[in-house]
């Protein structure tokens, strides 16, 4: 089936872009990467809608295009303007990161079975990628110390769950997607506001130095 291979190819592209987001040192560049990645996500929604006749995903791709390709990167870039582009130190070597990323994809393929049983769209690779994506986001938050990078990690994680949702439950009532997307955008908005205040208070976005509260 041609549709499946298109979706799978796009899903692999999604993982590649997200590794670029995690791996890029310059935050401004990482934000653009995220925007590109969201565009890939939108294309996945579109191809699912076309090839699998999943009509609700047409609307999803429009909302995701507006919020994730434009709005969220805009919020991040605006914050970067105030705090200045940050270079962040790497806690892990690139090779180690890639190795871990591969490990997560493998892990995702192991977990995917239970999701697959009840997924509406039976595209195993894409489903595994969505879960791997979620794990990559988590990994990004845990290993990166820059607050803005952690926000980007959250965005990756959120893109992952968005794709899982599309594959397993695209037919859910429209209110559901609106609710989840609104939360995602507001979460990023609020995190950037707090990040700015962290920068104002501490003069850095390195969360390793934000340790006044302990115990």
């Amino acid at each position: 089936m041609a549709g499946t291979s298109v979706v799978n190819a796009l899903a692999v592209l999604l993982i590649l872009t997200s590794m670029m987001v995690v791996g890029t040192k310059k935050l401004r560049l990482a934000a653009y990467m995220y925007s590109i990645q969201s565009l890939v996500l939108v294309s996945i929604f579109l191809s699912l809608a076309i090839f699998m006749r999943a009509e609700p995903l047409y609307i999803w791709s429009v909302t995701a295009l507006i919020t994730k390709t434009f709005l969220v990167p805009y919020l991040l870039l605006r914050t970067l303007k105030t705090v200045g582009d940050q270079e962040e130190g790497m806690t892990l070597k690139t090779t180690a990161s890639i190795f871990l990323a591969v490990l997560m994809v493998a892990l995702a393929f192991v977990v995917v079975g239970s999701f697959h049983t009840y997924a509406l769209l039976k595209i195993k690779v894409a489903l595994a990628v969505s879960i791997a994506h979620f794990l990559l986001g988590l990994f990004c938050i845990l290993t990166r110390k820059n607050a803005l990078k952690q926000i980007l990690g959250y965005c990756l994680l959120e893109n992952g769950s968005h794709l899982t949702l599309a594959l397993t439950a695209y037919n859910a009532p429209e209110t559901v997607e609106i609710g989840i997307l609104t939360d995602a955008v507001f979460a990023v908005l609020i995190m950037t506001v707090i990040a700015r205040r962290l920068f104002k208070g501490f003069g850095t976005l390195d969360t390793d130095t934000h340790t006044l509260l302990k115990g």
């Binding site: 239970s114 997924a119 439950a169 609020i190």
Partner: protein, 495 residues
């Protein structure tokens, strides 16, 4: 107002949302206070009307069943309405003091009230959601609604607390979203109806037919997700930071009410899991994590010096006790857990509000520097002592009753060792809190500290909360008992 029928489900979220929007637009502090007071009063009244309706056997549903109310909803709304009112009333005096001492600017007062009501709105929404995706979205929204309350003061530490709060809770809740999706897909494959597969009332009815393996996985995700928000170990680390950095009345609302919103979400899935996978799995998980939570919190309560952080860890401890109650299971365990949510809510609100008055007076939260409260602010000191004695689990107050029930339930379910451990942890907490009383209330006060209560307006809610606390210790009113029994049947599937 009498007999609003189903319209009450529209009125309940509309009132705090409207008040919030109004408050954000107001510049004058006095007007903002009046609007705020009206908002919390109407919400309290509406929640009481809903409780009455539910007790009268009504089950309102609106918007195709997207929103509804049963006994569980009623209990949670009772907390949001009544405790929200008392903390809101306390806020007025507290904010006036902060304004007078230059802690906040006049303009920020309206923001505080605006966010306070926005926060109430999100909590109400989580309470009345029947659609599990809306429930998830509402709980996530509570984080966002309260983030600015946590970061309200422009201190470095408040920004740090708010950051950890939003980041960790958002990550945690992402897991809950997976739990929600799994539950939905599982149900959808059975009923082939996208709308019904999202409704909790339908899910709980079809629970015996759901795939047990999938529901186990879903429950684990849910427990991690909403457990993070409820403050269960090991995802509780954000809680002491967030709850201690917020203005005291907001801390009271966070500890007293918000934790329960997440906890009630767990209860909803617990009810599904009980029927889908049997008692063993969900109960064992809750028992283990409940006990670990109590144990870790007990240790931190002992070593903390900051009084608000001590109180925050005590909230972690009590969430642990509630989880243990569910873990013990059976009618007694669930009843104990639900009663404990009410008891803890009342008591912790009293404690955070008194802690607010103490910090206003002493200008510090450090227990090593607060001495001789009994002589300086005798009324607050008495309330603080009573609150601590209660939260430590001593009779004749309310927390003792539900803790004792929990212990009995654990023992009756055949878990002797967990019961012994729980008892041991409770003893540690008891010692820690009695030490705190002896240090701060007794002793000789700093010489230069003028005597007298900071603010008379703040003392009224103390009195009311104290009455609830003491009253519920000796007598459980029949309507409340009926409500709790009803909620137990909702959870265990008796009706």
């Amino acid at each position: 107002m009498i007999g609003m029928g189903e319209n009450i489900l529209y009125a309940l979220p509309a009132v705090p949302l409207g008040t919030a929007l109004l408050a954000f637009g107001i510049r004058s502090r006095r007007v903002a206070e009046v609007v705020h007071l009206a908002g919390i009063s109407i919400l309290a009244l509406l929640s009481l009307i809903l409780v009455r309706d539910v007790l009268g056997g009504q089950r309102p549903f609106v918007l195709d069943g997207m929103f509804f109310a049963d006994e569980l909803t009623a209990i949670l709304l009772l907390l949001i309405g009544v405790v929200g009112f008392l903390n809101g009333f306390y806020s007025i005096g507290y904010m006036r003091h902060d304004l007078a001492h230059g802690e906040v600017k006049e303009r920020n007062i309206s923001f505080y009230y605006g966010f306070y009501h926005l926060f109430l709105f999100t909590m109400v929404l989580s309470a009345i959601s029947n659609n599990v995706a809306i429930l998830w979205a509402a709980v996530e929204a509570t984080t966002l609604g309260s983030a600015f309350l946590v970061g309200f003061y422009h201190h470095k530490t408040s920004a740090e607390g708010a950051w950890k709060y939003v980041l960790l809770c958002s990550i945690g809740l992402a897991f809950a979203l997976y739990g929600t999706i799994l539950t939905y897909s599982n149900a959808f494959s059975m009923v082939q109806d996208a709308h019904k597969a999202m409704l909790w009332t339908e899910l709980v009815n079809m629970a015996p037919h759901l795939d047990p393996q999938m529901m186990k996985l879903a429950f684990v995700f849910i427990l991690i997700g909403f457990g993070t928000k409820a403050g269960l170990f090991p995802m509780h680390t954000w809680l002491p930071d967030a709850h201690s950095e917020a203005p005291s009345p907001a801390s009271a609302l966070l500890s007293g009410v918000l934790l329960k919103c997440a906890f009630f979400a767990i209860i909803r899935y617990y009810a599904i899991a009980l029927q889908a996978v049997g008692k063993g799995f969900p109960q064992t998980l809750l028992l283990i994590f409940g006990l670990l939570t109590v144990g870790v919190a007990a240790f931190f309560i002992l070593v903390q010096n900051d009084i608000k952080r001590k109180l925050a860890y005590s909230s972690v401890e009590h969430i642990g006790i509630m989880a243990t109650g569910l873990g013990a299971g059976g009618a007694l365990g669930v009843f104990a857990a639900l009663l404990h949510t009410i008891n803890h809510s009342v008591t912790k609100s009293l404690l955070f509000c008194t802690a607010g008055n103490i910090t206003m007076k002493y200008g510090t939260r450090d227990a090593q520097k607060i001495r001789g409260m009994g002589k300086v602010i005798p009324f607050t000191a008495f309330m603080f002592t009573a609150g601590l004695v209660t939260v430590a689990g001593s009779p004749p107050f309310n927390v003792f009753v539900s803790e004792f029930m929990t212990l009995t339930a654990v023992l009756r379910s055949g878990h002797v060792w967990p019961m012994i451990f729980l008892l041991l942890f409770l003893v540690i907490v008891f010692v820690a809190l009695i030490l705190l009383i002896s240090e701060t209330v007794l002793g000789s006060p700093p010489e230069d500290l003028p005597r007298g209560e900071v603010n008379w307006l703040t003392l009224l809610p103390f009195g009311i909360l104290f009455l609830f606390m003491a009253g519920l210790g000796i007598y459980l009113p029949a309507p409340l008992n009926q409500l709790l029994q009803g909620a137990v049947s909702v959870v265990l599937g008796g009706k």
